[in-house]
Symmetry: C2
Amino acid sequence: MPNIWILRIGHRPQRDKRVTTHVALSSRALGASGIYVDTADRVLEENIRSVVDRFGGDYTIETGIQWKKLLKDFDGEIVHLTMYGQRFDESLPKISREKDLLIVVGAEKVPPEVYQAADFNISVGNQPHSEIAALAILLYSFTDGRNLYSDRNGNLTVIPNERGKTVVEKHS
Amino acid sequence: MPNIWILRIGHRPQRDKRVTTHVALSSRALGASGIYVDTADRVLEENIRSVVDRFGGDYTIETGIQWKKLLKDFDGEIVHLTMYGQRFDESLPKISREKDLLIVVGAEKVPPEVYQAADFNISVGNQPHSEIAALAILLYSFTDGRNLYSDRNGNLTVIPNERGKTVVEKHS
């Protein structure tokens, strides 16, 4: 299986702190390899790395990146998530499963260059939505949800429980 | 198909404004009938109603509700989304498709009463996640995504487009 990367464009550290955190955590939970964020944000980086340190896996985060260069140099397919894009159920089968994938998640205004650079502009429904929700459904469908319960070899592991909370802590 | 309702617990208007908005918008996009929010929040109500006014459908929002009473009186099945819960892929087939469904989405601390009142405590993966992403995957899977492209008869309709933005406005 190739790697899946997320590119978050239009991140404003104060306003988008929680939304971009949700984008990172949910894409990690669904098996993405890492996230690129356009605006530099050390606090966001530390928060995500702290989750990786505790719960395992090798999800990476890089902020303050030059997104135009990344789009130009990326070796793989580029998908841009937008409520104006083509139907997700019709587009998904066209995306290669052999190449790496870069999924662009925009904030309020996305420059026209992104629509042009993308191999696919895709909507998960054409209603006002949540970019977090749309990304989650796209990743879940593209991977058949196979990464949701994969072992991350973390220091903390949550064990499914009917009514309570079970967390196993590994002492190293 | 029965109705699906969302109950958002632990909403703090300042801090959670955008996250609860994402919960509401994405559940509307995926076909839920409406959302109940524990803390009164007129701004949130107005924002969601404005989307419904423009884009159609009959999604409702009520804030400042007594959630313990709602959990007690709800006529249908109650699902609580928690990263500590049972595997979603194993739990989903057990949920009735005949009864109404109430999905409880918590914020940071969820009182033990919620775990007790729920018919199912379910996790979408046992990794740190986003409640917005987990809810979206649960709704998408439970409904087979059938509501994502349903017509809402709104004044504004977005038409899928390969590279640009196409919005049709109905004049009434």
